[in-house]
Amino acid sequence: MRTAVILILTLAGFILVENLIFNTGVYPAIVDPDSTTGAMEMRLSNEMRRKAGDRNQVLAIGDSRMGFFPRYPNQIPNLGYTSATIATPGTTPRCWYYMLREADPQANRYAAILIPFEDYDDLETWEDHADRVSDLHYLIPLLRWTDIVEFPRSYHSTELKFKAALGIALKGTVYKTDFQDLLLHRKFRLEYAAQARRESHQWFYDFKDTDKNMAGVVIDWKARKLAAPPNISPGDVDTFKTQLLEPYPEHTGRRSAYLTYWLNRICDLYRGSATRLIIFRLPRGPYVRPDPPPFDPNSSVRKAARRPEVILDAEHDFDFLEKPELFKDPHHLNGPGQEQFSRALALRVRQLLGPPKAP
């Protein structure tokens, strides 16, 4: 009996100390700003510190393809809406749910949330997004004990389910690599994390991307051949080939189920709220294949559009940006592309939401 009491108290003590360090703001404040966790944490904490003057705030979420930079719409006179972003490279709809839950716990801070989608037909991907281990690393500061069932269950692999559950219970297991890096570069890390806390808002908001573009690629759709000028890297050429010339991955419904689940969870956050979730399709790329994916009337976004809090933007609204001159690689808009996209999206949001509400 004595042994059991001592061991249970020891285990409880360990979990308590561990949670005090990693499950409060203590450790996330000094996490490497360049890590996946740090990248998300910085953007989110910037947004949570940002003082919103009124209810006419629009928040963008998404991954690196979300080339929406608030400084452009915020310069448009009389737009009436203030833009902000927590879009973080590498994040997925599963991450967006937890990020929004953290950024807007009362679901009343924003007039609209801008949610980008690559397509409206749940086109299958080679990768199983549900088994992205990086999501655990992005989200670790945001996951709570109450997520210990839902989040791990959303993985397909048993190993990852276990890893996710263990990560929520003992966050140190996920912060381990970051912690070892901290031990190696203590002084630099603490200074860098402090600097990131002070300045990262400018890093993200004032970031000006390259003018490099993808012009000059010649595609023979019939012969399934592609020729690229020398300024385009071999990696980008390979991506073009896969993206444009390979057959679409076989439809299994795996991605549809994933997107439906997490989009529903995001919608649930805003059920009954005045916030609108605006879903729109991103400019697909500098070159667009002539064979569109098969139309799916019951895709995740089309099903979500039936919910009152969701506004589904017209699928082709941003097709005019699908030009080689506006992309820096096969997926991402370049500096001029980002500017045009940011302005166009803001104006479209104004149209969809109508005039701003009085403060």
Partner: protein, 465 residues
């Protein structure tokens, strides 16, 4: 199922739960079934071998005990031949075949066979051999119940890498089994967690540095890198094997069995003689009792003593693996032991004065680390290269990095070893205040969690023997 994996801990939890809920008469069956399951989880094909050896030794012991003098010797020889035959075939056939081919001027693998070394064969054959020898000597009664004997050989905590337990130690606990008292339970848990921390937070960290160096020694020229590589391996092998032993002893304790100590802070040794009193103690004891003393020990004059020492260490080296590198490693230690004996036993068996002790300990560590080069290097040529680099004047480019925090951790563990040497804090912890025990366990759990290597599985070094 490695000891440091989640499936193993689930297995252990189930075994412990069933062990303490089942009626006492059924517990040995449970342990035997669990042990065979554990062994089969590695490779079920080796179970027939384990069973065959079990039957051979079980039968041989009964025959030895009940036979006439002449027959007793015959059965002993047959039993030993069975064990050594299997060990020789699985472990040394290819080594001998390659050397034979070399002698005939043929390509090295001309006569080699595709043989997979059965897990733990060196350990369980040594354990079996000690049993039948003890029966022959009249120091141990033959075990009549085959299940009891099979459990002695297959008991999962020590099946694959020791400690090498004597039959009388095992059966003393087995036949007079009593549940572990609170202090023993706490000690068992502490040892398991300590072993886990040694393996994951220390051994596996140093393994990455040692592997980086020894996989391509020529890529890291210079004395500094060579010493870093050798010292990293010295630390890896200690934390790895002593970590495994701690876990094995701890698990056995939780099941009510008291296993002998296998390591007693070997890197605090002040001489090579002292080192061998502290390193892999159950193997040293086995070699002493079943090889060195039967060879004559130190009873037949100085020259014979040196010969016996050398033979024992050479065979001890060969026991580790079928390679000339292991033989050289054994010979190196045999030579050092003989040299120390020549210089005077007092000097190397009695603790030096406090002012001299750190110097002697550091020197011993350096000498032992030199020996580990033969143990770790893939080939004899690599060993020669590494040793030549260790004594080069040029330190070389510092391109083999040991993270400073790992150095601090190693120094902390050294301090802990010093404290243990003088105050036996680890032994006292389970008897001491609960908060101190809890604090120690929490620190160890943090070490496992935060610095334990989990992104790759690095097997225990001694599993290959």
């Amino acid at each position: 199922m490695l000891f440091n994996t989640v499936p193993f801990f689930i297995f252990l939890a189930i075994v412990l739960l069933l062990f303490y809920t089942l009626p006492r008469s059924l517990r040995k069956y449970l342990l035997l079934a669990a042990s065979y399951y554990f062994y089969m989880s590695w490779n079920w094909k080796f179970i027939p071998l384990l069973l065959t050896l079990t039957v051979i030794d079980y039968t041989a012991a009964i025959m030895i005990e009940s036979g006439r003098k002449i027959h007793r010797k015959l059965f002993l020889i047959m039993g030993l031949a069975g064990n050594l035959g299997f060990l020789g075939f699985f472990k040394y056939f290819n080594f001998l075949a390659d050397n034979f081919a070399l002698l005939l001027g043929r390509p090295p693998h001309s006569f080699a066979l595709q043989i997979i070394l059965p897990l733990g064969i060196s350990f369980h054959t040594f354990q079996s051999m000690s049993y039948i020898i003890d029966v022959y000597r009249g120091e141990q009664l033959a075990i009549r119940n085959p299940v009891d004997y099979a459990l002695f050989i297959a008991f999962f905590p020590q099946l694959v890498a020791g400690p090498i337990v004597r039959a009388r130690e095992f059966f003393k606990d087995f036949y007079a089994w009593r549940p572990p008292v609170s202090e023993e339970q706490l000690r068992g848990v502490l040892l398991v967690v300590l072993g886990l921390a040694k393996k994951m937070a220390f051994a596996d960290q140093f393994a990455q540095i040692a592997d980086a160096y020894f996989s391509h020694p020529a890529a890291h020229p210079g004395a500094l890198s060579a010493w870093k590589g050798a010292v990293s391996f010295a630390l890896q092998i200690f934390f790895d094997f002593s970590g495994y032993s701690d876990m094995a002893i701890g698990m056995a304790l939780l099941l009510g069995f008291h296993f002998p100590l296998n390591f007693r802070r070997p890197y605090l040794a002040f001489s090579v003689t002292d080192f061998w009193h502290r390193w892999h103690m159950t193997l040293s004891r086995w070699l002493r009792d079943y090889l060195y003393i039967p060879l004559g020990g130190n009873r037949h004059g100085t020259l014979m003593t040196y010969r016996n020492l050398m033979l024992t260490m050479l065979l001890g080296g060969l026991w580790h693996g079928a390679s000339w590198n292991f033989v050289i490693w054994g010979g190196y230690h045999g030579g050092l032991l003989a040299l120390e004996r020549m210089a005077g036993r007092k000097m190397f068996e009695q603790k030096p004065p406090a002012w001299l002790y750190p110097l002697r300990a550091a020197l011993t560590f350096a000498v032992v680390s030199l020996g580990w080069v033969f143990f770790r290097a893939a080939t004899f040529a690599d060993s020669r290269y590494v040793l030549s680099q260790m004594f080069r004047r040029a330190s070389g480019a510092p391109n083999l990095l040991i993270p400073p925090w790992l150095v601090w951790m190693a120094l902390l563990s050294l301090a802990a070893a010093f404290l243990e040497e003088h105050f036996e804090w680890a032994d006292r912890l389970p008897r001491g205040p609960a908060w101190a025990y809890a604090a120690a366990l929490i620190v160890l759990l943090f070490a496992v969690e935060m610095v334990g290597v989990t992104d790759k599985q690095i097997p225990f070094i001694y599993f290959q023997f």
